[in-house]
Amino acid sequence: MPLSADEVRHVAMLARLAIDEEQVEHLASELSSILEYAEQVGEVAAAEVEPMTHPFPLENVLRPDDPRDTLDRDELLAQAPDADGNRFVVPRIVADEEDGG
């Protein structure tokens, strides 16, 4: 199924990628051809097949509730594009608060 220009814009928005309007058409055709290739998976009759997310059936891999060493704050913040000495800083947020938590 070919991607429309609007779908490309929507996907770019979801993926937080700033794309130029001139790119949209080219991206639509490029992504469409990749998807068309990938859509071959639809030819396989797999309705009853259990999806595979891991090659090895591991389960209950849990960690004891023991604390470990934390990172040095200065080292952590040294990598930050912007910080105020003890916290990371980003420009103002326009979108509404998400359902964090």
Partner: protein
């Protein structure tokens, strides 16, 4: 033998015996890098001072008669996707330019524990997405066999460092073929272990359910040694296998007499270059002459492997790469709002292939498409794994050409994503099934470019694969040293390293 053409096992033995100093070995390789890497461009970051200091430490321990770890003093090149504390780690991406991890990957810790000495970080396709290393934001790595051609990818820097005699060992990662395909294209040995055999902790994630680190070397024995050094259970990775690694070296020399080798019907024919097919055929005859029985097996769903892979891997990648947004680390492109800052940072920081895959993955996971894309691909994945199970009832190991082509010239596939993806057609099925697979050189094509033979085994059968590969290697008589270097070894590659 020159220090830079020597094997890792040979170097380890000579260093331990005091025959040669670790410092001499390291200096010889650093000089080799100095001499040839301007043309090959394998290294993104050379840690010469740290390497020399570590070599001196090994030499002190040798002099003191201390017990040494198995690969003490042996140089190694590290794909720049492994986090290295205090050493820049970029994953080949502009978005991580200048990022210095505050911690080491488990593999990096293991390499240190085994006594190896890191020479630095080597190039890769951005976030390991690619088959030519041309997607690196920093450099196009050249194939030491022909500097006008690609080394394959994404672990192009790892294989080029090893084939180019800049390191006897390298670690890479393989998500859909990223160790095996470049190994095939550079005449090196590359192993993708069973998924979960090597810890993923500290490896910049591409596709979490497929990513697997593994060794690259010029010989099968060296590959086995490095595999042993980096494998094992890690409680910091939930998907790490608790099973014992076992001793893959023990059975290395047992030969292939009586083993059944299954040739996969679906992984040959259309799309495979004649030169590749011919070298592969010759390889099969060699295996037969060694006493293996060649049988034909079918993986009926294998043709759907690549389409399934190009849904599963981008889906996971779209989520794994969401964190690169200019907030906590890495590149930030300033803007007046956080949203715009995120979107511009990502547009500026990610290259076109990474953006393509993020968009494909985002789309494949989005409402209304999840079932047809991600879910269906995950089901096909199961069918492929079941195909392998059935095939392993008929053969001990399976084989195919590693890559449908030999090394190709720069820029020949960069404008056609699908043509580039087809490089992985033979390697992706094993990745989806999580089984171990390796590439061992099986000869040269008519242009003198290396061809690789892929061997695939059941889960955790790394030992068996290495055993078959070792027997094959002895018989094939392949010289892993690229033509130019055989004719006239580069300056600085002489014994003693000129120190």
């Amino acid at each position: 033998m020159s220090l830079v053409t020597e094997t890792a096992s040979g170097l380890a033995r000579r260093i331990a015996d005091g025959e040669v100093k670790a410092r001499e070995v390291v200096d010889a390789h650093l000089e080799r890098i100095e001499a040839v890497d301007g043309d090959v461009r394998a290294f993104l970051h050379v840690t010469a001072d740290a390497a020399r200091a570590q070599a001196d430490e090994v030499d002190r321990r040798v002099a003191a008669g201390d017990e040494l770890p198995p690969l003490a003093g042996v140089p190694v090149a590290i794909k720049d996707i492994f986090c290295t504390r205090g050493v820049p780690t970029t994953a080949g991406s502009k978005i991580l330019e200048g990022w210095i991890p505050p911690y080491d990957a488990t593999v990096v810790e293991a390499l240190r524990a085994a006594g190896t000495i890191s020479l630095g970080k080597v190039n890769l396709d951005e976030f390991a997405m690619g088959s030519s290393t041309e997607n690196s934001a920093y450099a196009d790595t050249a194939n030491p066999w022909d500097l006008g051609r690609v080394p394959g990818g994404s672990s192009g820097g790892s294989v080029a460092a090893v084939a180019g005699l800049m390191a006897p060992l390298a670690v890479g990662t393989d998500t859909g073929g990223s160790i095996r395909q470049p190994a095939a294209l550079t005449g090196t040995v590359g192993l993708k272990p069973t998924y979960g055999r090597v810890s993923r902790y500290g490896i910049v994630a591409f596709a979490s359910s497929l990513d697997q680190a593994g060794p690259v070397a010029r010989t099968v024995e060296d590959t086995a040694l490095l595999h042993t050094a980096i494998s094992g259970h890690d409680p910091r990775d939930s998907t790490s296998l608790p099973e014992d690694v076992g001793d893959v070296l023990q059975d290395l020399r047992k030969g292939v007499e009586g083993l059944k080798v299954g040739v996969v019907t679906e992984l040959q024919g259309e799309g495979y270059e004649t030169g590749v097919e011919q070298a592969f055929e010759a390889g099969l005859h060699r295996l037969e002459s060694l006493g293996a029985e060649i049988v034909e097996v079918s993986l009926p769903h294998a043709p759907y492997g690549l389409p399934a892979y190009y849904l599963v891997a981008p889906s996971e990648a779209s989520s794994n790469l969401a964190r690169y947004d200019g907030t906590l680390y890495g590149l930030r492109v300033d803007a007046s709002t956080a949203e715009e800052m995120n979107a511009r940072t990502r547009a500026e920081g990610f290259g076109p292939e990474v953006q393509r895959r993020i968009m494909i993955g985002t789309y494949a996971l989005s409402a209304g498409y999840f079932d047809a894309y991600y879910l269906q691909a995950s089901k096909v994945r199961r069918l492929i794994a079941q195909d392998f199970e059935a095939a392993f009832a008929q053969a001990d190991v399976l084989t195919s050409p590693t890559s449908p082509t030999v090394a190709f010239p720069f820029d020949s596939k960069t404008n056609d994503p699908i043509a580039m993806y087809l490089n992985d057609i033979a390697t992706v099925p094993a990745s989806l099934a999580g089984i171990p697979a390796l590439s061992v050189p099986c000869g040269l094509d008519e242009q003198g470019l290396p061809v690789g033979m892929q061997l695939m085994g059941p889960l955790l059968a790394e030992g068996l694969l290495l055993r078959v590969a070792w027997a094959f290697e002895q018989e094939a008589g392949f010289d892993p040293i690229p033509r130019g270097d055989r004719a006239a070894p580069a300056p600085g590659s002489d014994d003693g390293g000129g120190s």
